[in-house]
C-alpha cells in the first residue's frame, strides 16, 4: 500500500507584474475584475509533472539544488498548498517538520506553547499531557520550559519545535532540512528518532542537502531540478547522477569565472607593469611581500606571452573539477616573437584563503634556460593531486631570472578539488592506517 501518491503534480505560482501590484480593491470593484484579478496572468512553474509513490514504511530522500522545487513538493504532500494540476494523495496522519516552532507565541511559556503547538499539529490535549515529559526530555529543556519563549535562544526554540513535531507520532513524517537544528548530540538524537520511525514502519519523506544521509538512510531518492524530475530510484545511483550534474555546472561556472578574470586582466596593457607592481624582484610564488597580497591580474612585458593555460585530467580533457588523487596536467602555451635565453617558467598553487599550497619554477628545480622561440608548450604534471576538497587558484608566469616579468598571470585559473573524504588541511600526504592486534576497526557502511 502506498502512503504517498503523487500523479503528474504541477505547481504554478503567480508572479506579479508591475500593474497588478498596485491593484486596489476599489479599482478591482470599479472595473469588475475582482475575480479575474485573483487569477494568475504571469506564472512560474515551481513543479512540473512530478509522479512518484512512496509505499508505506519506506523512506524517500528528495535532493536537488536550491530552488529546484523540493520544498514546494513537501508543501504539496503536507497539504499546505494544492497542486495546480495533478493529484497528491497521502494516507495517514502527517507531521511536517517544515518550520520548527511555527506558531510559537513569544510572550507565553514554553509549556503552554507545547500544548498549543501540539494541538495545531493534530494531537489532543490528553495525548500531549501524556507525552509532555518525553517532549521536554527530548528537547533537553527541563529548566526553561516555564520561561516565556521570547527568552529562548534560537537553538532552544528549534529544539522544542522539533520535539513537539516528532512526538505527534505521525504515519507520514515530512522533514525539510531541519537536521541542522542543534549541536552534534541533538542531531544524533534526531537521527536515532528517524531510525526508530523507520523501524516502526512509518513513512518518511526527507528533503535534504546531506547526500550522505540520503545514501545511508533512504530506500529511494528523488532528484528534482528546476521543478522537473531528473531521477528516481536507488539512492546511490540518483545521488551519483546528481553529484555528477553539480560538477558539470560547477565546471561551467568556474570556466565562466576564469574567462571573465582573464578578459579583465587582458585589458591591462603591457606598458603598465610598473604601476601594478613596483620594480621589485619577482620570483615565482615563493616571492615574499606584496606578491602574496596582489589580487587577480596580469602583467609583464610580453616578450614571452602566455597564450593559453589548460588544466587537463588524466583522459586529456580540459576541465575545472578534479578529484583528490587524480592526475592533473597544467599545459602552458607560450609565444616568443624574439628568441630569448633568459627565462623561467613558474607555477603557484593557492587555496581559497590565499594560502600558497605549493610553488615552484624551472630555475628552482635547477633547469637552466637555453632558448625559447616561436610557439612553445610546457606541461606541468601532477601525478596525484593530493589536495583536500576545496577551490584552488593558479599563478602561471614566465619571467627573467632576476624577476623581470615577461607575462605574469596572477590567480587567473580556478579549479575545484572534490573528495569523498572530508579531511582537512592543505595537503593530503599519501597515508595509510595500520593497527596492532589490540585495536580493531570495522569499515563503516558508506
Amino acid at each position: 500500500m502506498n502512503a504517498i501518491e503523487v500523479f503528474h503534480a504541477s505547481k504554478i505560482y503567480r508572479r506579479y507584474s508591475r500593474r497588478r501590484q498596485f491593484t486596489t480593491l476599489k479599482s478591482a470593484l470599479l472595473s469588475g475584475s475582482l475575480i479575474r484579478d485573483l487569477r494568475p496572468d504571469e506564472t512560474f512553474s515551481a513543479l512540473q509533472d512530478v509522479t512518484f509513490t512512496v509505499p508505506a514504511g519506506r523512506t524517500l530522500g528528495v535532493i536537488g539544488r536550491n530552488g529546484s522545487g523540493k520544498s514546494t513538493m513537501l508543501k504539496l504532500v503536507a497539504g499546505i498548498t494544492k497542486p495546480s494540476s495533478g493529484i497528491v494523495r497521502v494516507d495517514g496522519r502527517i507531521s511536517a517538520l517544515i518550520e520548527l516552532g511555527a506558531g510559537f507565541h513569544p510572550e507565553i511559556s514554553g509549556r503552554e506553547n507545547v500544548f498549543i503547538n501540539g494541538i495545531m499539529l493534530g494531537l489532543t490535549k490528553r495525548e500531549i499531557t501524556r507525552r509532555f515529559d518525553e517532549i521536554v526530555e527530548f528537547a533537553d529543556m527541563k529548566d526553561f520550559i516555564d520561561a516565556p519563549v521570547k527568552t529562548y535562544s534560537s537553538g532552544m526554540y528549534m529544539r522544542l519545535g522539533f520535539a513537539v513535531a516528532i512526538h505527534v507520532d505521525p504515519d507520514v513524517l515530512l522533514v525539510d532540512e531541519v537536521l541542522a537544528v542543534g549541536d552534534e548530540g541533538f542531531t544524533h538524537k534526531c537521527l536515532d528518532k528517524f531510525a526508530e520511525f523507520k523501524r516502526r514502519g512509518k513513512t518518511i519523506l526527507l528533503v535534504t542537502h546531506a547526500l550522505g544521509l540520503v545514501e545511508r538512510f533512504c530506500d529511494e531518492a528523488l532528484w528534482l531540478d528546476a521543478g522537473r524530475m531528473q531521477g528516481l530510484g536507488d539512492p546511490k545511483r540518483v545521488v551519483g547522477a546528481y553529484v555528477t550534474d553539480v560538477e558539470v555546472t560547477e565546471e561551467r561556472q568556474l570556466a565562466a569565472g576564469d574567462a571573465k578574470a582573464q578578459e579583465s586582466a587582458g585589458t591591462i596593457s603591457p606598458d603598465e607593469p610598473a604601476a601594478v607592481l613596483p620594480d621589485h624582484p619577482i620570483e615565482t610564488a615563493e616571492a615574499p611581500g606584496d606578491m602574496f597580497r596582489a589580487t587577480e591580474g596580469r602583467w609583464g612585458s610580453r616578450e614571452i606571452e602566455i597564450t593559453d593555460v589548460q588544466l587537463r585530467a588524466a583522459d586529456g580533457d580540459s576541465g575545472h573539477v578534479f578529484h583528490s588523487g587524480d592526475r592533473l596536467d597544467i599545459r602552458i602555451r607560450m609565444r616568443a616573437p624574439v628568441a630569448l635565453d633568459d627565462f623561467v617558467i613558474g607555477i603557484g598553487l593557492f587555496n581559497a584563503e590565499g594560502v600558497c599550497c605549493y610553488g615552484t619554477n624551472t630555475s628552482l628545480e635547477e633547469l637552466k634556460a637555453e632558448r625559447i622561440f616561436g610557439d612553445a608548450e610546457a606541461t606541468f604534471t601532477i601525478d596525484s593531486l593530493d589536495l583536500v576538497e576545496g577551490t584552488y587558484k593558479l599563478d602561471v608566469a614566465v619571467h627573467r631570472l632576476d624577476g623581470y616579468p615577461y607575462d605574469y598571470h596572477r590567480l587567473l585559473y580556478t579549479f575545484r578539488v572534490k573528495s569523498r573524504t572530508k579531511d582537512v588541511g592543505i595537503y593530503r600526504p599519501r597515508h595509510a592506517w595500520t593497527f596492532s592486534d589490540g585495536v580493531r576497526f570495522e569499515k563503516m557502511p558508506s
Binding site: 480593491l25 508543501k75 499546505i80 511536517a96 511555527a102 510572550e107 498549543i116 495545531m120 489532543t124
Partner: protein
Amino acid sequence: MFPNLVRLLRYRGLIQSLVARELKARYRGSVLGFFWSFFNPLFLLLIYSFVFEYVLPAKVDGLEPYALFMFCGILPWTWFASSLTESSNVLISGGNLIKKVLFPAEILPIVTVLANMAHFFLGLPILAVFLIYYRAPLGFPEILWFPVIVFVQLVFTLGCALILSALTVHFRDIRDILANILTLWFFATPIIYPMGAAPALGRRGLNMNPFTHLAVSYQEVLFYKGDFGHWKWLLALGAASLAFFLFAYFVFDRLRDTFAEEV
C-alpha cells in the same frame, strides 16, 4: 464548504487554546494583567461621565445619566470594531502559520472575534454595577434577550471578520481604509445619540445599518425601562446575519487556497 464547517468543530480545542493564549499574552508582563480588561472600560466610563457631567452637560429626558447610556452601546461596539481591525490583519501576521502548518486558516479570524468577545464579557460587570446603582434593577424578562443579542452580534461579527481577513490578503489597502470606515460607521449608529433623536428620514437610513439594531437592542434591554420592543428587528437581523455568515464563509473557502501563496 459544509464539510469544512463541520471540520471546524474538530478544531474547537485549538480555538479554545488560542483564545486563552490570546488573552494571556495580551497582558503578559503588565503589572495589573487581567485587571486591565476591567479597568479599561471603567476608565472609559469615568471619562465619559466627567465630560457629559461637567464639560458638555447633556440633559436629554430619559437618558440620565447620559454617559451610562452611551456606555451600553460603546461596549459592544468596541468588541465589533476591534474584532474587525484585528482580523483584517490576522492572516497576514499569521502568515508563518498558514504557510508552514496545516490547519484551517479561518481559525485565526474566529479566534480574534472570540478573544474580543471575552474582553466584552469582562467589561460587563462594570456596566452592570453602574446600571444597578443609577437605574432600577435590570428588568427580568427583558434581560433574557441579552444572550440572544450577543449571539446575533457574534454571528454578524464573524461574517465580517471572515470576509475582511480573506480580502485583505489580496487587497492590503483594506487595512488602511478600515479605520475610517469604522469611524463613519460609529457615528452612523445610534450609540452616542438615541434613536429617537434622529429625524424621520435619518431614521430610515439608520435602520439600514445592521449595527443600529444591535445597539438599540442593547439599550432597550439594559438601559431603558419597559418592554423590549425591538425584538422583531433583532430576529430579522439574526436571520440575515446567519445568511451573511454563510456567504462570508463561502468567500473565505473559495479564497482559502490562495492564502499560502499570497501572505
